[in-house]
């Protein structure tokens, strides 16, 4: 299968160029056509920065210093503005975490979706009214023609996120990047929005990169998963393999700290300590200070272990499957 998105050895830094803070160090990640990849990690692990920097949306002062980002055959690192504008919204649609903040409060939501269409297909906004209604129907907005005339503050959180998804799908992109798409929503709505995302990606054969800290979401919609810690990917692989037998102790910790569905099976374990902040990452394995199985060797950078077709960045990848966690 061909890769829609291929990030290779991406390094990102921010702040004063004379005293930069490294946010992402050497991330390689690819998304095959039609597959859904979950990028998992705690806050500050660099998962959002990796994606936003790749699309040139990370904001001022965030720079890619090394690496390559290829999207459908186009190199994005160092690409000029017209190329980036054509890619953003055209080849890749983006959904953000907070749907209220992500919509312009002064414009009707239909106009905002129409703008996304207009930016890539030209014409007047009014000419895209049918397309807007079609998109809103696609994401399950009831009474789409009327809702298109609403302002963001007049819609519920779930409806707003559906609008944001419709906007991301406006030009039938080959990749959808969703940054914590359900985190800001009520629990009852999360499942519905997740369903919309699944239909728009997996079911339509559209590739997606979903940034989340929610392993349940990954298990539900993703085919592949990449786990980030302190600006690096520490483990990646198919969701089935990684969830059944995580190799990296951090992945194991994450999976173990998920509440089990079966009651009374085991105590909920929580990882001790906190992830280190960008700028204070240790020379060796960044997870070593919290790792239950750390040894002397962990003070030096760990190698990538690719035995049995798996991928993890650890001195002694765990090979036994975990008990009590599916």
């Amino acid at each position: 299968m061909t890769d829609v998105l291929s990030i290779e050895d991406l390094w990102v830094e921010a702040g004063d160029p004379r005293d930069p803070v490294t946010l992402v160090r050497g991330v390689s990640l690819s998304v095959e056509a039609g597959s859904v990849v979950g990028l998992v990690g705690e806050s500050g692990s660099g998962k959002t920065v990796t994606c936003m920097a790749s699309l040139g949306l990370a904001g001022r002062g965030v720079r890619i210093t090394r690496g390559s980002v290829r999207l459908g055959g186009t190199e994005l690192v160092g690409a000029d503005e017209p190329t980036m504008r054509r890619v953003r919204g055209g080849v890749v649609g983006t959904v953000f975490q907070d749907p209220l903040g992500a919509l312009n409060p002064l414009q009707r939501v239909g106009d905002q979706i129409a703008e996304a269409v207009q930016l890539h297909r030209g014409g007047r906004r009014r000419a895209h009214r049918d397309r807007v209604v079609h998109l809103l129907t696609q994401v399950g907005v009831p009474d789409p023609a009327r809702r298109a005339r609403a302002y963001p503050h007049e819609l519920s959180g779930g409806m707003r996120q559906r609008v944001a998804i419709a906007m991301a799908l406006a030009n039938d992109p080959s990749l959808v990047v969703a940054d914590e798409p359900t985190t800001a929503l009520d629990v009852t709505v999360q499942a519905q929005v997740l369903d919309v995302i699944r239909r728009a990606t997996k079911d339509d054969g559209r590739a997606a990169l979903i940034i989340t800290h929610d392993l349940g979401l990954v298990a539900e919609v993703a085919d592949r998963v990449a786990v980030m810690y302190a600006g690096q990917i520490v483990e990646k692989g198919s969701v089935a393999e990684v969830f059944a037998a995580p190799r990296h102790p951090y992945t194991q910790g994450l999976l173990a700290s998920r509440p089990a569905l079966e009651p009374g099976r085991r105590r909920l374990s929580a990882m001790g300590g906190r992830p280190p902040l960008p700028g204070s990452w240790p020379v060796g394995c960044a997870f070593a200070p919290r790792c239950p199985v750390a040894v002397e060797a962990c003070t030096t950078p760990p190698p990538v272990d690719q035995s049995d077709g798996r991928w993890s960045r650890c001195w002694h990848p765990q090979v036994e499957s975990m008990e009590g966690v599916s």
Binding site: L55, L57, G90, A102, P105, Q112, L119, Y151, S156
Partner: protein, 330 residues
């Protein structure tokens, strides 16, 4: 005499008297009308006491050589011998009928003499507001988005415009453009050319304030997610600025400009006198110096009404720009 009678909302005070649970629900029109009436009442009360606190009008009118009989006669004639309360009631009655009396000197109805010069001031205020919007918004965009050198330059110009008082700027303008270059008339009113220098003198401060306001709003809104959304849709940074960032800065800027207009009137007093521009400010100052109290009262009343009307227009404008103020959440 103060012209600084901005539209302080008296609704809060008025509503506070009613029991919390059964507060009468008024429509927006009724609320606005009530606010207008209460603000006007406050203005008139202030006016009544200000005139009576600034000395004995009778003594001033009669002059230093008047006998006590003459003084008494004037007092009776003006109703100044009555108790304060009945004077107040009579005063309000006159105001209701828009009867401000006649100018002590010309005998012309005071209100008419003020209204005759009102259009001149309105034109000056309009040109000033238009200038502050047309020049201030681009300057604000430059302040927020331009390169370092341009930003420094604009920032310096704005600081200068805010620091130099309008009468100093006005004198400077007269010196350069009227005396040295002879391009513009130094004083007078009625022709477009006479508007140019008063507008510049009056607008300099407003331009700088508008620019700083726009810049502050743009900078504050810089990391709003909807701007990132616009970029993510494929919009250019120019489009993001003009279609998304700037419109969202406008409600705050519009409110600031409305407040600015109220202050502009006190500025207009100075500028009109300086350029001998025949507007309401000059009429007011002339009347104060001449102790022409009916005209003073009429001028302050008209300025007060003007400020109230501007505030109402401003509220309506913000409502038009920002849908969140009129349309409740679903």
């Amino acid at each position: 005499m103060s012209t600084d009678v901005t539209g302080v909302s008296p609704t809060a005070a008025a509503a506070g008297g009613a029991p919390a649970r059964r507060r009468p629900r008024l429509g927006p029109v009724a609320t606005t009308a009530l606010r207008l009436v209460l603000t006007l009442l406050g203005l008139l009360t202030l006016l009544f006491f200000l005139v009576r606190l600034s000395g004995d009008p009778a003594a001033v009118l009669a002059g230093p050589s008047a006998t006590s009989e003459q003084l008494e006669e004037i007092r009776t004639g003006l109703g100044l011998d009555e108790p304060l309360l009945s004077q107040y009631v009579a005063f309000l009655g006159d105001m209701l009928r828009l009867d401000f009396g006649e100018s002590v000197f010309t005998g012309e109805p005071a209100l008419d003499s003020v209204l005759a010069v009102l259009p001149a001031t309105l034109i000056l205020v309009v040109t000033t507001v238009v200038t502050s919007v047309v020049v201030g918004i681009p300057c604000g965009v430059l302040l927020a988005r331009a390169g370092r050198v341009a930003r420094r330059g604009v920032s310096f110009a704005m600081t200068l415009a805010q620091a130099v008082p309008s009468f100093v700027l006005g004198v400077g303008l007269i010196f350069v453009f009227a005396v040295n270059l002879g391009w513009l008339p130094a004083f007078g009113s009625g022709t477009p050319a006479t508007l140019v220098m008063p507008t510049i003198a009056l607008a300099a401060f407003a331009v700088a304030r508008t620019a700083r306001m726009v810049a502050a709003e743009l900078e504050q809104g810089e990391d709003h997610d909807y701007l990132r959304t616009a970029y993510a849709k494929g919009a250019s940074s120019r489009r993001v600025l003009w279609r998304h960032a700037l419109p969202n800065a406008l409600p705050a800027v519009a409110s600031a400009i409305v407040v600015e207009v109220s202050y502009l009137l006190s500025g207009a007093v100075v500028v009109e006198v300086l350029f001998a521009y025949n507007g309401i400010g000059k009429r007011l100052v002339d009347a104060i110096f001449a102790r022409d109290y009916p005209v003073v009262q009429a001028a302050v009343f008209v300025i007060g009404v003007f400020v109230i009307v501007v505030n109402l227009i401003g509220d309506a404008l913000v409502r038009v720009i920002d849908p969140r103020t009129t349309r409740g959440s679903a």
